[in-house]
Amino acid sequence: MSDIYYNAKENFAGVIERLMGRYRVYAPVKQDRCHEFAPLRNAEEADLGFSNTRLSPKGLFHPQAERMFEYSLANDDPQAGIVKEAQKDFSPRVVLGVRPCDAKAFDLDDANFNTETIKDPWWVRRRETTTMIGLACDSPCSTCFCTSMGSGPYDTAGLDVLLVDAGEGYAAEVLSEKGKNTLSVTSGWTPVTSAILPLTHKKKAAEQSVGIAFDPAAIAKKQMLELYNSPTWEEVQFACINCGACTFVCPTCWCFDIQDEVCGDKGERLRLWDSCMFPLFTLHGSGHNPRSQKTQRVRQRFMHKLKYYQDKYNSGPACVGCGRCVQACPVNIDIRQVGRQMAAQTCSQPA
């Protein structure tokens, strides 16, 4: 049974300031016509009245360019040619105002970056030293479909604290020890024991206002090869321009490329966002490209998110229904529509 506290909105600048005293705080900041998660320079910059950020907050854990290693190439340097891990700042952070869909996405990303056998050191350390304070959604966008993907506007997956807008103040549901410790550096919280019924109503209203997209379980049940060989991909792929915008705004897209950049006698090994939408993505050193055709690449994206991930990890699709790809796609390829088509494929009887 988690603890719930209440704090007045007029105290909140003070809450954020206290957090900033101990942590590097990231919150949604208005930039031109959109919001993005940015490190706060002062409490007033945080805008919790946002709907969602244009880019997902995945860049806070998996940056577009991650300096992994560095090395010197100087002739007179005895350390020349030795690859060393780049120094990073892992001092504690707070991500304030993250939406439940994005928080769940990080849990899904863990399947890639934090496994039994392989742990990405930078991802893992950032996850360990970051407190996720989420903000429940009361006005989901028309492009949201989190409830169809196993998440929801009040979902607590991946969060240490969930804030709910309670009119004059915020209710905070403490979900972990880390969340409790972080909140304890701030003040003005009173425990809430009763009168949380209005919040339950708000939760229900929010969930009901999210559009139904498709049933990923129906896709999980289909034969993989039948989906793979479906003739509908021909129609889905036509409009796609392989621009990669979908993968870049998506919180569960993690693919990367590794490159060295050398300037003078200093070099860096970088990990960079890559995209399965790019033709180069699967180009082998031999010159062979198993996904040289656009159809293959378009199919790959949807199969990975909605089928392969489900088959491999048995924990739902690699999609949280944030709807960013629907908004970003310049040719209006809509994953909700593609998902519906995939779910509707009729099963053939096994031979």
Partner: protein, 315 residues
Amino acid sequence: MQPYSESIREAAKRLLLEKRVDAVIGFRKGTVPFMNEPFLARTPEQADQLVWDGNCAINLANYLPKRTGSVAIAAKGCDSRSIVIHLLENQIRREQLYVLGIPCQGMTDKRKIADRLNGRQVLQAEENGGKVLVSGRDFEQSFERAEFLQQNCAICTHKNPVLYDELLGQPVEEQQIDRYEQTSKIESMLPEQKRLYFDELVQPCIRCYACRNACPACYCPTCFVDESKPQWLGKTTDPTDTLTFHFLRAFHVAGRCTDCGSCERACPVGIKVRLFTMELEKQVKKLYGYEAGMTQDERPPLDAFRSDDPEPFLG
């Protein structure tokens, strides 16, 4: 916007039934407001899905390079000029194409409308005559479409297709306008100011290359950004590398860009990338008196040499 949906469907069905073409490239209705999806109709039944309105901004010529078979394509002014460039550059043969010319009254800029609505979310948007009726959860507002056109459409001087097999409507009046007002302002800045201006302009760039992919003139099998032997520029969001990408892409489309605006429309972070291409369009016009894609009888200046080419840099 003239009622083109009917005429496109009629023409498409006719051409498919006559087997004049294997397929028709157009748009079908999108799933979100202000968007339509490029669509390939292969049968008369599929042709019934074709629509045309102020949300058909993406340049369909982008789907032509190296296409096999015969295809009909809906083309507004800028699109038709991009088709001319493709013909000149041997990306497709004239015999393969049946161009359905569309005299264009401009495309709606959904971002301009979003700015005016100040964060209120649009759930429905409908065109009616010269107006756009926009509605959301608890509001309804009507806009004069002519005041909310994409920037490239607002300053367009070639709304009528220059190449077509069939014109689907009455030609519209072309306007006389200074297309280079904004670029001239930037030209007059001091170098340090310019550098700051451009740095700020591309600061949100995430190097997704949506601008390049939406552009019909960008069809290189291996784009310069993806070359590795040698590597011309880095792949991070380093400001110098990012500016280099945008500058060089603008140079590569100089004399070939028809200002269709697809690049700006495709950008997920709303960068005004046309500011780069417009400057080069101006220079090409000034130096060579050339406008991209107006005629099949003249090659773009940067891929042809004539003895009377201006060479002001030679003494």
